[in-house]
Symmetry: C2
Subunit: 452 residues, 2 copies
């Protein structure tokens, strides 16, 4: 077994194909429905805002999907990403467990999001689209799509939730460095934005509003499409590059995980890491446990229900069959902006229902404790979102110590926290709340799910 801290792959060892778990799932999720007709959506329902290649991937049951050379060339700027053995953290925890983590934070936007932003921009460009629109909350996805559009010489318009636009100027700066136009949402750029501003000029905005603005422009213009950073099947397919590399790296280390952990908001980070290993569980009977970790303030998988729901507040998107807290649920203002989403990937939802994966939730004071312990041992200051996976891995390593079991734990460190430092300041000053959610709040939102 290697005594190295980092397990690296050469560029020649980078995967040439993405993995599509739909080829292997015992049960596929129910199909998305057209929000008007409540009938399953067809390609024609989606072609106003997505390119055909992504619509094809969305329903594909092919196990392997080729990564275009043009995308692989840009992946090489940071991929294959390193796998680390967290030797110093293991020692600090005095655990017999071995802890590995895959680090996606060395990418240009500092998170895993560019893995899918690049192919999304590429396929759109191939089909003659020259402009993309999107929404962003904390800004990770907006940064990634801005960079992807820059690499393929496309224009990018980002609608950034107004309160984040004002509070998180650093990520906005990066989008602008890469040439994007960034608008605080609600904006005067769209009909839906203007309508909202007329009613409430001081609206702080929300992801649901920003989605409406981005989709409105994409639907109206022939040269413009829309791009989404999580939830959908094609996004999770692209993210599989994470888990595929991790499998090669674990093999190089002479090891295989007993437990695979990732944080889970829309599901692209969890799916990207876990699905290639879940293949081994479904097809080869591997005994690995898979844990999706979400914030206790937005407990979609652990306290939501499985059913059809809208992706946005206004009800403009297709209805997805997923675990949801209800589209009207407004998560408390936790610092893990990337995990504040009422729904979840239909693929992740189905795997949870079928007992192939587990889900758990953590409060934000716990995850910042884990983040600081991790930083002081491994050097990297992690993103709050990724710190959910860290704290869960710490808990599992401590359980292994209690049980005296030399478990092998693998988690995805999906991004660094260098643009989240005010959150750390708030934690160190003792100002963070955990926002326990009373049943009543959830029941109210869940009582209003659309009737199918």
């Amino acid at each position: 077994m290697s005594s190295d801290v980092k397990i690296l792959l050469s560029e020649k060892e980078m995967p040439e194909k993405w993995y599509n778990i739909m080829a292997d799932m015992p049960n596929l999720p129910k199909p998305p429905l057209n929000p008007a007709t409540k009938e399953p959506v067809g390609p024609e329902d989606l072609s106003a805002i997505f390119p055909m290649e992504l619509i094809k991937q969305e329903v594909s049951q092919e196990r392997w999907i080729e990564i275009p050379d043009e995308v692989r060339e840009i992946y090489k700027l940071w991929r294959p990403s390193p796998l680390y053995r967290a030797r110093r953290l293991e020692k600090a925890l005095d655990t017999p467990a071995k802890i590995y983590y895959k680090y996606e934070g060395a990418s240009p936007p500092g998170s895993h999001k560019l893995n899918t932003a690049l192919p999304q921009a590429y396929y759109n460009k191939q089909e003659g689209i020259t402009k993309l629109t999107t929404e962003t909350g904390a800004g990770q996805w907006g940064m990634a799509l801005s960079q992807a559009c820059n690499f393929f010489n496309m224009e990018c318009k980002v609608f950034m939730v107004k309160v984040s636009y004002q509070q998180k100027p650093y990520r906005r700066s990066v989008m602008q460095i890469f040439g994007s136009s960034v608008f605080p949402s609600p904006s005067t750029e769209t009909e839906s934005g203007r309508k909202l501003l007329a009613a409430d000029p001081d609206s702080p905005g929300s992801l649901g509003i920003a989605i409406s603005e981005a989709v409105e422009i994409a639907a109206q213009r022939d040269d413009t499409n829309y791009a989404l950073g999580s939830v959908l099947n094609h996004v999770l397919i692209h993210q599989s590059v994470i888990g595929l590399e991790a499998k090669e790296q674990m093999a190089k280390a002479g090891d295989y995980p007993d437990i695979v952990i990732a944080c889970c908001g829309g599901g692209s980070n969890f799916g990207g890491m876990a699905f290639p290993f879940i293949h081994d569980k479904i097809v080869n009977g591997a005994k690995t446990r898979f844990i999706a970790v979400e914030p206790s303030a937005c407990p979609t998988l652990t306290r939501g229900v499985l059913g059809y729901d809208y992706g946005d507040v206004a009800g403009l998107t297709p209805l997805l069959y997923m675990y949801t807290l209800g589209a009207e649920f407004m998560p408390p203002g936790i610092h893990s902006g990337g995990l504040r989403y009422h729904g979840d990937s239909p693929l992740v939802s189905q795997l949870l229902k079928d007992g192939i994966i587990e889900a758990t939730s953590l409060g934000q004071t716990a995850i910042f404790e884990g983040a600081i312990l991790f930083a002081r041992n491994e050097g990297i200051v992690p993103a709050p979102e990724s710190s959910h996976a860290i704290q869960c891995a710490i808990n599992e390593a401590l359980a292994a110590r209690e049980a005296g079991e030399a478990k092998t734990i693998l988690f995805n460190l999906s991004g660094h926290g260098l643009l989240d430092l005010p959150s750390y300041d708030a934690f160190m000053a003792g100002k963070l709340e955990d926002y326990p959610l009373p049943e009543g709040i959830l029941n109210k939102a869940l009582g209003n799910l659309p009737k199918i």
Copy 2:
């Protein structure tokens, strides 16, 4: 020749020894002088604030100095650092030149500074010291020393120039995450700080004042020493790990640089990259050009004079024989805080005097233009300091295009700019000044050099 974008080394290929250019220099710099007696300093003058091993390294003429295993173990968290071939930038410049860059920004503090912070903390710990003090301006060095002290379980007190403490809270947050105490300087922690505050309660502070505070505490307490992030010989020895790795990586790429470029403030970044290649020039007659790039607003090498000067404003440090603008010179408020120093490394100064290296200067609007061109092609948002090297490399690549010469250019990308984004905002808003320095200002400062 490899077609890879990244040239990686395994942990086994990491250097086991640092390189000390004093073994090879045709002329050594004149020795430092005691500020009171004006006689050459002896070990006893320095032992109040530095451990003996670093004092030994400061005067050593051994070519190779062993890297302690304990330091190499922590280096493995990010070392060997990657060497990139900037293929996309080359294409954008339409140049026949090959451009390589060594990337030090993937380290925990995001810059090259941890390369020396770690051994400095280690040697102090070995000699029974449990606390270190230092000063920091923009915060790169303070972050690195905080992390190094954390890794070796030492306390760290950082005196941060007050105006930076207030304007750059992000780097302060990182120091605190790693357990340091950070004080805005001038502070009430020291006699010199209290004296200054009594005279001017609103003093914005300066590096010179912060050095005085850090040195005062270190000199008074037996368990406490002081650490410096650049200028001194032992710092440049530790940074040689950059150039040693780059030599191995260039060999793997089947190439050798015609031009080596690094930005230069105190000289540790330039020395770290260049000195191992300068060995080949001195010892083997290699024809490589070496370019130290400084800001035109702080033109130590290009417009200063070579002579004895103090390292700080108060005149407490030994007199160093170096290019200087005069210790009383106050550089304009450019965004490359790491390059705002009146003096330069005595080793770099001597090599410039002997014609072995060259120096040039660039204005800050030019370097931000280079930074954005680089980011849009290579993905990484560079630190303003490092962008001096980028813009110089771009200029050399364009000159190679004019001349039709396939030059091989290597530069050091010493850090990322994710904690410098307000500087980018100011540039994009057209608000940056170049601060051309009239002769008069320089002549005044240079007229007041200490008389030896």
